[in-house]
C-alpha cells in the first residue's frame, strides 16, 4: 500500500460514509422503483417484495443463499496473463481491472467454490456482474476449466450461474477462444457422467450464452432474466421494428423451448436439490423393495417410510440389491 491508499482514501471514505449509509439502508427496485429496506430485501433473497423483480446479486450472495447453511469453500483460481493485448480504449484495460477489483474485491468475474447442496457435494462456478459486466476473458475461462476439473476430481455435479454481458472485448480474440475452451470443460464433466446444471441469471448474453451456458444437461432461468445471443439494441437496429413483448426474457425462452424451467429464487435451492437427487440416485430407495417384514426384520423395526434409505445406501451401496 502506498501513502495514498493508507492516508488519503480512508479520509475520503470517512467523509463519504455519512451520506452513504442511509442510502444503502434502502434499495430502489429496478423493476418497480419502490424503495425496499435492505434487511427485508436480504431476507427475501434480493427479490423485490413489491413486484417480485429478481435483483442481480453478487457471487458471494449467490453462494451463501444456495449452499447448505450458506457454507462453502472458494478455490484459488489459476494465475493468468493480465492484459495480453495491452488494450486501451478511453481507459487502460489494466485500470478498468483495478477499478473492478476495488469495487468487488475479486480477482476476476468468476468465483469457484465447493460445498454441499442438500447434502450432495457440488462445485459451483458463479459469475459476478459487477466485475466488468461479468465478461469472459482468459481468467474466467481458466477459472471455468478449474471448476470443471474440480467437479470431475470430486465426482461432484457442476452448477454454473452465468451473469455476463458476453466476451471480454479487451482481450480480443483470446476472449473468443474461451468459447471453445469452456465447451471442452463442459464435455469433461459430461464425459465423467456428472450432471452439469446451468442457472441462467440476469443477464446471460453473447459469447457466454453461445458456449457453456446453453450446454446444460438442465437449463434453469431466473424469472425475468435477459438471456440471448445478440443484444436487443442490435436486433432492433437490424430489423427496424419493435421487439416482441418479453423478448429474450427467461419466460420467453421457456415458451420457445430453449430452457427447461423458470424457477423463482425462493424455490431454486429446493429445485436444484430435487434434480440432483433424481440424477444422482436413480435406483429405487430401499422402502419400495418388496420384502415382507419377516424377510427383512431390520426394515420392519425401523420407520416404515425409511427416510434414511438413501443415506444408508450410500454407506453400503449394495444394501438394496
Amino acid at each position: 500500500m502506498n501513502w495514498l491508499t493508507n492516508f488519503v482514501r480512508p479520509k475520503i471514505r470517512a467523509l463519504v460514509r455519512k451520506e452513504d449509509v442511509p442510502e444503502n439502508l434502502w434499495n430502489k427496485c429496478p423493476g418497480c422503483e419502490e424503495m425496499i429496506f435492505h434487511r427485508e430485501l436480504a431476507a427475501n433473497l434480493y427479490v423485490c417484495t413489491h413486484c417480485g423483480h429478481h435483483l442481480r446479486i453478487s457471487a458471494e450472495q449467490r453462494l451463501k443463499m444456495t449452499m447448505d447453511d450458506g457454507e462453502y469453500q472458494c478455490i484459488e483460481l489459476p494465475e493468468t496473463i493480465v492484459d495480453p493485448l495491452k488494450f486501451r480504449d478511453r481507459k487502460r484495460y489494466t485500470d478498468r481491472l483495478k477499478e473492478a477489483h476495488n469495487l468487488t474485491d475479486m480477482q476476476d468475474a468468476l468465483v469457484v467454490a465447493h460445498g454441499k447442496l442438500g447434502g450432495i457435494g457440488v462445485v459451483m462456478a458463479v459469475f459476478d456482474f459487477r466485475f466488468l459486466g461479468g465478461s469472459m476473458g482468459i481468467a474466467v475461462g481458466e477459472g471455468f476449466i478449474a471448476a470443471a476439473r474440480l467437479a470431475v476430481l470430486q465426482k461432484a455435479p457442476l452448477l454454473v450461474f452465468p451473469s455476463s454481458g458476453g466476451a471480454r472485448m479487451q482481450e480480443g480474440v483470446l476472449s473468443l477462444m474461451q468459447m471453445p475452451r469452456t465447451t471442452i470443460a463442459v464435455d469433461e464433466v459430461k464425459e465423467a457422467g456428472l450432471p452439469y446444471i446451468v442457472v441462467l441469471t440476469d443477464p446471460t448474453t453473447g459469447g457466454v450464452t453461445a458456449s457453456f451456458a446453453m450446454l446444460g444437461d438442465i437449463a434453469i432461468g431466473e424469472p425475468g432474466a435477459i438471456i440471448g445471443f445478440a443484444g436487443a439494441r442490435v436486433i432492433g437496429d437490424t430489423i427496424r421494428e419493435k421487439l416482441p413483448e418479453g423478448f429474450q426474457r427467461a419466460e420467453y425462452l421457456l415458451e420457445h423451448g430453449m430452457i427447461d424451467m423458470v424457477v423463482p429464487r425462493k424455490e431454486l435451492r429446493d429445485t436444484l436439490i430435487r434434480i440432483l437427487g433424481l440424477l444422482r440416485n436413480p435406483t429405487p430407495a430401499a422402502e419400495i423393495v418388496p420384502l415382507t417384514p419377516s424377510e427383512a426384520p431390520h426394515l420392519a423395526a425401523g420407520n416404515p417410510k425409511n427416510k434414511n434409505a438413501g443415506k444408508k445406501r450410500e454407506e453400503n451401496p449394495t444394501a438394496d440389491e
Binding site: 480474440v173 473468443l176 450446454l215 436486433i235
Partner: protein, 318 residues
C-alpha cells in the same frame, strides 16, 4: 476496374489516368505507350507500398471487399464433384452457410462455409453470410455425417457474425452456435479451417474450432466488429479505427498469439485483385495441412485439438 477502397484513392487516380491515355488516339507528340508504362510502374509501386503496410482498419476494409473470392469461388475451383447438401432437418435451409460433399486433392471431404454473395440478388439469397441457427445446425449435421464416413472437414469462414434477428433468437441462435463449437471439438476426423475474409465473433468460431486454422493475409478474426467495440467501449462508433488497432484482429497478430497456424500471402493489392492466385494459394496451403494430419487416428486428432485450445491464451503479444 476493381472497386477501389477509400485508402486506395491515389492508386485509383493513377489507374484513371492510364485508362484515359489508353483511349487517346496516337496522334499527339508524346509517346503514349511510354507514358502509360511509366504511370503503370508508378501505380504498381504505390499499390505494393500501400499493401505492404496496411493498418488494421485498412485490413478490415480489404477483408470485407465485395470482390474478394467467396466460398462458392473456392468450391468451384478447388472441389471436384461438389455436391451441396441442404437443411438442418429441424426447421429450414439456411443459405448463409453452404456445405456439401466433394473431392479435394483426391480425398472425399465435407466442405462447409459462409457465403456472402457477389451481387445484390445473391447477397440477399445468402443473407450476406450471416447465418441463422439453421445454418449452424446444418453445419453440425454435416460434420457428424463426415465423421460417420471418416471424411476430413474443411471450413471456410467469412462472416460479419451470426444474424441478429428475432426469429434467430427465438430458435436458439446461442444454442446452435454452442453445439456447433461442441461438435467441431468432438469429431474424430481432421478439421481444417480457413479464415478467408471476415472471422466475425461467435458466428466464426462456430466453424473454426479446428485442428489447424489457416488465415489469408488480409483477413480479420475478431471477438467483435471494430464498429461494435467502438460504440461499446468508446461510446462512439467513429472510433472504429482505434478499436481495429486495439483488438489485434490481423493475421500476423493472431499468428503471434497462437490462435492461427499459418498465414497465406495474398496477391499484391489483395485477394480482390487476383481471385485465381488467391484461391490457388489457399488450395496449396490446405493440401499441405491436410496431408500432415490425414493419417492421424481420429481419437488422437480429437485429443490434440482439445489440447490445442486448452493451451491457448498463455502468452500475450510481446
Amino acid at each position: 476496374m476493381p472497386t477501389f477502397l477509400d485508402f486506395e484513392k491515389p492508386i485509383a487516380e493513377l489507374e484513371g489516368k492510364i485508362e484515359e491515355l489508353r483511349h487517346l488516339d496516337g496522334d499527339g507528340e508524346i509517346n503514349i505507350a511510354d507514358e502509360v508504362s511509366k504511370l503503370q510502374t508508378k501505380a504498381d509501386r504505390l499499390l505494393r507500398q500501400t499493401y505492404a503496410k496496411l493498418t488494421p482498419w485498412q485490413r478490415v476494409q480489404v477483408a470485407r471487399h465485395p470482390d474478394r473470392p467467396h466460398f462458392l469461388d473456392y468450391a468451384d475451383v478447388l472441389i471436384e464433384n461438389f455436391t451441396p447438401l441442404a437443411g438442418d432437418r429441424f426447421f429450414a435451409e439456411d443459405n448463409a452457410i453452404i456445405g456439401g460433399l466433394g473431392r479435394f486433392c483426391g480425398y472425399s471431404a465435407m466442405v462447409i462455409g459462409h457465403e456472402k454473395g457477389k451481387d445484390t440478388e445473391t447477397r440477399l439469397h445468402h443473407n450476406f453470410g450471416m447465418a441463422r441457427p439453421e445454418g449452424y445446425r446444418k453445419a453440425r449435421r454435416l460434420m457428424r455425417l463426415a465423421e460417420r464416413f471418416g471424411l476430413p472437414i474443411i471450413t471456410l469462414v467469412d462472416t460479419a457474425g451470426a444474424y441478429p434477428g428475432v426469429g434467430a433468437e427465438e430458435r436458439g441462435q446461442a444454442e446452435a452456435i454452442a453445439r456447433s463449437i461442441e461438435v467441431c471439438l468432438d469429431v474424430r476426423v481432421p478439421l481444417i479451417s480457413v479464415i478467408i475474409g471476415e472471422g466475425g465473433s461467435g458466428g466464426a468460431i462456430a466453424l473454426a474450432a479446428a485442428d489447424r486454422v489457416i488465415m489469408l493475409e488480409h483477413a480479420i478474426y475478431s471477438v467483435i466488429s471494430p464498429e461494435g467495440c467502438a460504440s461499446i467501449l468508446w461510446r462512439n462508433g467513429e472510433e472504429a479505427i482505434g478499436a481495429a488497432e486495439a483488438l489485434k484482429l490481423t493475421a500476423p497478430d493472431l499468428l503471434e498469439l497462437g490462435i492461427i497456424d499459418k498465414v497465406v500471402a495474398e496477391p499484391v493489392g489483395g485477394a480482390q485483385r487476383n481471385k485465381e492466385a488467391t484461391i490457388a494459394a489457399v488450395g496449396e496451403a490446405l493440401e499441405k495441412v491436410l496431408r500432415e494430419i490425414i493419417g492421424v487416428e481420429g481419437g488422437v486428432l480429437r485429443a490434440r485439438r482439445r489440447e490445442r485450445f486448452l493451451e491457448m491464451g498463455k502468452k500475450g503479444l510481446g
